[in-house]
């Protein structure tokens, strides 16, 4: 009986014992290629599993790399058993690399054939993003068309925006009261389009201020914004023929730290008591603190931001708020710049196209869901795929 049991055990455990006795067999096939459609500095590796993996003879794979010649391999990364691919992003473009993948188990490490040479390179065009190119081309085409129309003298209609009329009213009130106008062009730097839009509105406010001979205060959180704001205001004062009233001190940098900036602006508001406060640009958690302080000194307040999380605070605490895209529309409307108006009209084309595709997608999805028809399901998937964001 004992002999029978031991024979059965030997037969059953022999393969496992064998797996732990010898080093694992190497991955039979290793492939290395430049990562397609990328910006370079990347190589894709893939391999077939080691024959020893199934019996538990592999615990990890070690990817090794050599430069120029298949000699002197160095470990790049260690991956767990079951891994089949790795993307090496620590390579340089134009350099020849060779790769090995060794299976490692309790009984040791396998040999490995090498793959290569492979060179990473950058591609100019990523065909996976063709849909992005087409959509961008349609939008840019629409914008260019309206700019072209505007340059030919065609009047571009833009509907009235409630907050814009309030700008005149606010500056007029500050003039009557002999108090300054405070303008905060957001707290972000010049790489944020909301700051650019805010400074464009600042140009218009500065023209009014110069015309009415009112005092303007523009504290900034970024030094570059301060420089651009100064240029904007100087140009506005020149435009209305009052360069004598301009001085650099009306625009000043405070600090880069968000809440230190807010503390300083709050101090300015309660000490200077501006009659009009403008908050135009990108804001974060400080929006309510600024608007509440302005409200406490009785200032008429006009805000504009495209930050969805801060809009509720401006809507609650300010007299007028330019909501989201109204901020960009207002800067185009006020500047009366044909390029900006054309751009705004072009964006409207984009919105109309988006609304059309959403309605089409919703109709197809609804019909597909209601009927279960395969053709409708495929059509809904195809429309949806037009807007897929590919890596």
């Amino acid at each position: 009986m004992l002999r029978v049991v031991s024979t059965v055990l030997i037969v059953l455990l022999a393969p496992a014992a064998q797996a732990f006795a010898d080093p694992p067999s190497p991955p039979p096939e290793i492939r290395a290629a430049d990562t397609p459609h990328d910006r370079g500095r990347s190589v894709d590796l893939s391999w077939s599993p080691s024959a020893s993996e199934e019996s538990g003879g592999v615990t990890r794979y070690v990817v090794q790399r050599a430069v120029d010649r298949p000699e002197e391999f160095h470990a790049v990364v260690t991956l767990p058993a079951g891994s089949r691919a790795y993307t090496d992003t620590s390579v340089r473009d134009g350099v020849s690399y060779f790769y090995r993948v060794r299976a490692v188990g309790p009984a040791g490490e396998s040999e490995s054939a090498s793959a290569g040479p492979v060179r990473a390179s950058q591609q100019w065009f990523n065909p996976r993003k063709s849909n992005l190119l087409v959509i961008a081309a349609v939008l840019i085409g629409g914008i260019s068309w309206f700019i072209f129309q505007a340059s030919k003298g065609r009047r571009l209609y833009i509907r009235k925006i409630a907050g814009i009329e309030a700008i005149d009213e606010a500056v007029g009130r500050a003039t009557e009261m002999g108090k300054p106008v405070l303008f905060i062009p957001g707290i972000e730097d010049m790489d944020n389009v909301q700051t650019v839009a805010g400074l464009s509105i600042l140009g218009n406010v500065a023209q009014l201020v110069a015309r009415y001979e009112t005092r303007l205060e523009v504290p900034t959180r970024r030094s570059l914004v301060m420089s651009v704001a100064r240029e904007t205001i100087k140009e506005a004062y020149l435009k209305v023929g009052r360069p004598d009233l301009y001085n650099d001190a009306m625009v000043y940098y405070i600090t880069d730290e968000q809440f230190a900036f807010v503390a300083a602006v709050d101090g300015i508001v309660v000490r200077e008591k501006p009659a009009a406060c403008f908050y135009m640009g990108a804001f974060f958690a400080e929006s309510l603190i600024l608007a509440e302080t302005g409200n406490s000194v009785g200032a008429i307040q006009v805000a504009g931001t495209a930050m969805p999380t801060q809009l509720p605070f401006f809507v609650a605490a300010c007299d007028y708020t330019l909501i989201g895209e109204e901020l960009f529309a207002a800067s185009a409307y006020l500047s009366n710049d044909q390029k900006m108006l054309g751009s705004l009209k072009g964006q409207d084309v984009g919105k109309a196209i988006a609304a059309g595709f959403i309605l089409l997608g919703v109709a197809l999805q609804t019909a597909a869901s209601a009927s279960g028809n395969g053709a409708l399901v495929n059509a809904a998937r195809w429309v949806s795929s037009l807007f897929r964001i590919n890596p």
């Binding site: 809507v315 529309a329 988006a354 959403i358």
Partner: protein
């Protein structure tokens, strides 16, 4: 509590009280805290920009062996002469300080703004346009194992109606009158409902910040008594 921790606790508590004194009115304590905060952070931002941006990304790339004496990681890379270009543009910004050359600073500003516009275009187009259009294509009739999922169907209907009407509100090329005007008004109502929900949610988050400050003051009072 060590002596250093006790000093930190006291500075934190006193500055908190000084800042909160603004709730009563502007006063010398608030002014002190304000100027203290601004001064320290402005200096800190300058030091941070020098050591975290200028040294590793500019000077360390132009003259790694030289900068390597004070910033060892800089010496690991070869010299990168391309970095002279951003340095040149950075110097152009400083041209504002010399009146006859002030116009040169506009080139650097134009570069920053132009780059930001171009770089952001595809990013926003993907996240704010393509991504949102795709995720808004939802069925108004949702089915599940038991038949029609009324809750999900209603959610999708509200989503699509709110989205299309809000888009109508942000359409600037057409007067908001008639049917279009009604859709636009529904859109602004939808936005206001969303703002109300966001307001309440954020106020809750702010209350948690206040609690954090009170806990700090509580530790301080505990240390005193």
């Amino acid at each position: 509590m060590t002596g250093v921790e006790r000093i930190e606790l006291w500075i934190g508590a006193l500055l908190t009280l000084m800042v909160y004194s603004f709730l009563y009115r502007d006063n010398p304590f608030y002014k002190f805290a304000e100027h203290f905060f601004v001064g320290i952070t402005a200096a800190y931002a300058m030091v941070l920009a020098f050591w975290n941006t200028l040294m590793p990304n500019c000077f360390g790339q132009i003259a790694p062996s030289l900068v390597g004496h004070v910033l060892p990681t800089a010496a690991e890379n070869p010299a990168n002469p391309v970095r002279w270009i951003p340095l040149l543009f950075g110097l152009l910004l400083l041209a504002r300080l010399v009146a006859p050359l002030a116009y040169l600073s506009r080139w650097a500003m134009a570069l920053v703004i132009g780059y930001a516009a171009g770089a952001n275009f595809t990013r926003y187009l993907q996240s704010d346009f393509m991504g949102q259009v795709r995720s808004s294509m939802v069925p108004l009739l949702v089915r599940d194992a038991g038949g029609i999922a009324y809750g999900s169907s209603l959610s999708n209907l509200v989503l699509v109606a709110g989205l299309i009407s809000a888009l109508a509100y942000f359409f600037f090329s057409k007067e908001h009158t008639g049917m279009f005007g009604r859709a636009s008004r529904f859109g602004i109502w939808t936005l206001m409902v969303a703002f109300g929900a966001a307001f309440g949610y954020t106020v809750m988050a702010r209350v948690s910040l206040l609690i954090g400050r009170f806990q700090h003051l509580g530790r301080w009072l505990g240390d005193i008594f």
